[in-house]
């Protein structure tokens, strides 16, 4: 799995070489001197789309946390099947939004609103955990490969090549179908097949940082390898990792939903968006609300993460200045 190249190529905002690369020296000189983090956050706060997206992400997180509140307000637990005339038609089909079921019901007479709210939990949980795992593996292996070089680098780089040449979706499907679809398995499998791109980015960064003066300085002061790796080098790789991470979360969320859609999601009756959409496929012509609400939730969430990630990438990417002139 790979994230769009823009995120991957974004470099940390460091001191720039004078006049090189057709950049605009006057603007550069003016911008230098402020901390790259402060600058990035300033830029991000000016980015309206990113801020609205952040707001929506926070909203989704709150909905996930307070999903039980939806259940208690409506009085419908997420997995409770209702059979009354309010819940199902005489033919046993889902019924549309009503005073009782605000977002209608699904094919088993369950509350779509409450289930969509609960579905946010799965999406966010898998999204965050699998991304964290991916980034953790990728950063550690990338640091090790770039920092130690030699044999370790050769082995790790080959491993990266192999992982990248495995058909991602097929591998995940196969493993989930073997080990059974649980939260842990889903997270582990996604994490194990996504770290390679992160490792590759981090390795490249470390290779160029390794030769820089401050690493030399740390070495001459007698710092240990570990200290240099995590205290001196890691912070410099961090901006890139952050950009990649924000753009990876939506990819993972979609992967998880895809697994559910293909029937390899968490076991029923767990409410999750991909599974709901899959379940709604047979009735989408008569019950568009059943397929519509979880779909909208999924799209808006990935959209929000992507827009926010894009904003983060823009804020950290020094080349954004180039848009002004060449």
């Amino acid at each position: 799995m790979s994230v769009d190249e823009r995120g991957a190529d974004a470099g940390p905002l460091g001191p720039t070489e004078e006049g090189a690369g057709g950049s605009q020296p006057a603007a550069r000189a003016a911008i230098e001197g402020r901390s790259p983090w402060t600058l990035a956050i300033q830029r991000l706060r000016k980015d309206r789309a990113a801020m609205i997206s952040l707001g929506f992400i926070i909203l989704i997180i709150l909905i996930a946390i307070f999903a039980p509140v939806f259940a208690s307000i409506t009085g419908h637990p997420p997995n409770e099947q209702y059979h009354g005339a309010q819940a199902l038609t005489e033919a046993g089909l889902p019924k549309g939004p009503s005073g009782e079921f605000w977002w209608g019901t699904d094919d088993l007479g369950r509350d779509v609103l409450v289930r969509t709210a609960y579905g946010a939990r799965i999406s966010l949980l898998v999204g965050v955990l699998a991304t964290a795992l991916t980034v953790a593996i990728g950063v550690v292996l990338g640091l090790a490969a770039g920092f130690f070089g030699g044999f370790i680098d050769t082995v790790l780089s080959r491993l990266v090549d192999v992982v990248l040449s495995v058909p991602f979706l097929l591998a995940v499907l196969a493993l989930v179908s073997i080990f059974g679809a649980s939260l842990t398995i889903t997270v582990l499998v996604i994490g194990c097949f996504s770290w390679a791109s992160v490792a590759r980015i981090v390795r490249g960064q470390v290779l160029s940082l390794r030769e820089r003066e401050f690493v030399e300085a740390a070495r001459s002061l007698g710092s240990s390898d570990w200290r240099i790796m995590f205290v001196d080098i890691l912070p410099n790789v961090l901006t890139q990792v952050i950009v990649y991470t924000t753009l990876l979360i939506p990819v993972v969320i979609v992967t998880q939903a895809t697994l559910s859609f293909l029937g390899l999601g968490l076991p029923p009756p767990t409410a999750d968006w991909g599974g709901m959409i899959s379940g709604a496929r047979n009735t989408y012509t008569v019950a568009p609300w059943y397929i519509g609400f979880p779909s909208a939730a999924l799209i808006l969430t990935t959209l929000a993460f992507n827009l926010f990630g894009d904003g983060v990438a823009d804020a950290f990417d020094p080349r954004a200045d180039r848009l002004i002139s060449e």
Binding site: V162, S165, T302, L323
Partner: protein, 319 residues
């Protein structure tokens, strides 16, 4: 060049071998009840055992694997558990479907993605750029199964209801049945697959093009007094296309084995659909066959990408 190809091919064969071993081991280790499933719930243990024997499942794993490799080297990938069809035949039937889908969609997404990306990069921060980037990020965020279902709902269901019977709800019509029906069946799947990828390619081309347009040699090209369109296309796009071509190769490789979602949504009996069906039925020979095909596609695509890279960029030497 030759040495490079030999080395990469050997590496590729090695990767394929690792993948078959892993697939075999994994599915053997997993609780396997194919024989039971086939025999039915009421079957006696004797019947189950007989079926197990017929499928070769009673043999030790290494024996099964050796048999598999021996037959595979003779061009025989085994027979599926349920209908006893040769796996090679199953793949040969499924492959044209997947190729129709992927290659047709590729034309659309490349045209759309590269054109949009170039336009966006040439007029950065303009209305055109904003519009196209919004378009891109929107479809980039659209899970393909949702997009497929949306298209089905509006272009099949609502249109058909309104009396426009243009698009079928799914399934495949081979080219041999005529170009018309084939097109009619492929258009919605193409759009589904292409829109999501066009979004990625728009972003990729835009980013790559923006970086290239900031290069010194573009300034040189302008300083030479050649037309702006020549600067953008001949000098800019020529360089900016390199990462796009690379990504295209990688995507083609990945997709030939794994357009699972689009094939599932539109009931297209391609490689991906075959694979997911085999997975849910634990039809090991078919799983191994499709996984091998998918991996081979990725491996070959990666080699082609590297060779292509050397053709595109004179600075690259293969070794």
């Amino acid at each position: 060049m030759l040495r490079f190809l030999v080395r990469r091919t050997l590496l590729g064969v090695f990767v394929l071998w690792v993948i078959t071993v892993l697939t075999f081991t994994l599915f053997y280790v997993a609780p396997n009840n194919v024989a039971q499933t086939l025999a039915g719930r009421q079957a006696t243990p004797q019947v189950v055992a007989a079926i197990s024997k017929r499928l070769g499942l009673d043999q030790p794993l290494w024996k099964q694997y050796v048999d598999f490799v021996w037959h595979a080297l003779h061009g025989n990938l085994g027979y599926d558990y349920y209908y006893q069809l040769p796996v090679t035949h199953i793949i040969a039937t499924a492959l044209p479907v997947t190729l129709s889908l992927v290659l047709g969609a590729a034309v659309i997404w490349l045209l759309l993605g590269v054109t949009n990306g170039v336009l966006s990069a040439v007029y950065p921060r303009s209305l055109v750029d904003r519009g196209l980037t919004t378009f891109a990020i929107f479809f980039y965020s659209f899970p393909s199964f949702v997009l497929g279902l949306v298209l089905l709902y509006f272009l099949y269901y609502r249109l058909t209801l309104s009396g426009f019977d243009w698009f079928p709800p799914g399934s495949y019509a081979p080219l041999s049945a005529g170009v018309g029906p084939w097109l009619q069946h492929m258009i919605l799947p193409w759009i589904t697959l292409a829109l999501v990828l066009a979004a990625t390619y728009t972003r990729l081309t835009r980013g790559s093009m923006l970086a290239v347009l900031g290069e010194d040699y573009i300034r040189t090209a302008r300083s030479k007094g050649i037309s702006e369109s020549r600067v953008v296309l001949r000098h800019g796009l020529r360089s900016a296309l390199t990462p796009v071509v690379t990504q295209f190769g990688i995507d083609l490789g990945q997709l030939i084995g794994g357009v699972v979602v689009t094939e599932t949504v539109f009931s297209l009996p391609g490689i991906g659909k075959t694979n997911i069906d085999a997975l849910t039925r634990q039809d090991l020979p078919v799983i191994v066959g499709t996984v091998m095909l998918a991996s081979a596609a990725v491996v070959v695509a990666n080699i082609l990408v590297d060779v292509g890279y050397a053709f595109l960029d004179p600075r690259v030497r293969l070794h």
